[in-house]
Symmetry: C2
Subunit: 197 residues, 2 copies
């Protein structure tokens, strides 16, 4: 890559990170190009679609999440690992408001720049789910696609400012629903002691 192209690329990515964090995943691409002092067509050259831009911004987060699934598998109890991963998924999607909708659409669109990452994330979640199921701590009538859908729904909740104050609590409710033999039978109280990180 030529030096001037590299500079434009980096500048676009920097500015896009700020603008998308401010305005959400459907922010104006024109505005990003403007604020990066770059021609609009240059943005399109480097990132032919909105998904490509988001993919570049989220790639490291996605890779971390997939890698973390492997570490969790080695270091934590099956149910704990699953819940930590789920929490991390939601946090990852929360970086840019509205990105979760693109992420779920990408799963069935092989042409999307987000497709590969999303398929990999779903697979890594599915492995953690299967492990918990084998250990008898997750209900057996769910698969990776169900888990991905539930993760998406929780991320959507945290995107909605009118519902944001419920998301922590509802995360616990859904996490409990995925797991078996948990608090529900033992105590039935509302307080949650799921691993927070």
């Amino acid at each position: 890559m030529r030096a001037d192209a590299r500079k434009n690329y980096d500048q676009l990515l920097d500015v896009a990170g700020v603008v998308l964090a401010e305005e959400g995943a459907d922010a104006s691409l024109r505005d990003i190009a403007r604020r990066a002092d770059v021609g609009l067509a240059t943005l399109y050259r480097h990132f032919p679609t909105r998904e490509a831009l988001l993919e570049a911004l989220l790639r490291t987060g996605f890779d971390d999440l997939t890698a973390q699934a492997g570490e969790l598998e080695a270091s934590r109890a099956p149910d704990e690992a699953l819940v930590v991963w789920l929490r991390e998924f939601v946090a990852c999607a929360a970086r840019y408001q509205g990105v979760v909708t693109l992420m779920v659409a990408a799963i069935e669109d092989p042409g999307s720049a987000l497709h590969a990452s999303c398929v990999a994330m779903r697979a890594s979640g599915a492995r953690l789910l299967a492990r918990a199921q084998e250990a008898g701590t997750a209900r057996r009538d769910l698969d990776g696609a169900d888990l991905y859908a539930l993760a998406g729904a929780l991320a959507w909740l945290s995107d909605q400012s009118a519902l944001a104050d419920r998301t922590d609590h509802l995360f616990d409710v859904v996490a409990e629903a995925i797991l078996v033999g948990s608090k529900r039978e033992r105590a039935g109280t509302s307080s949650s002691t799921w691993p927070s990180r």
Copy 2:
């Protein structure tokens, strides 16, 4: 209302119902006016905001849902009534793709044309939830706002074509999570026998 105004109003509502059902809640208002053979400013005169148009289209459905809550309270067991209402909520929001996002935003925006309906719906759901809680068949650490958020999340799931095939199953999972003392302990199987209407 003058006769020509009435005609325009009805025509707009007819066409809007078709277009929004086809293209979702963020369809082009210009397109609706065009297909209704009406000036764009006439649409704005009758429906000053997108929410106002949706409110006119959804009003009867919303009213039915609120009324139905009352009937369910009289005729059905508390847990059954709650689940039937929840299912109806999701079906109602599914009429126009993307409308659920406007519905949750409307709950904290008193200026929205959808505000009153949404507050009423949340309240009617809250009553059914409280009734089930008093009967001991719903978990006590949820309130009306939580139920509304869960209903919204389920409606969002059914909006996403990539996840649509999971929504029936995940509806059951979430419904089970709201209720207590259900299938989970008795059988632990995946088949569901919730009231379907």
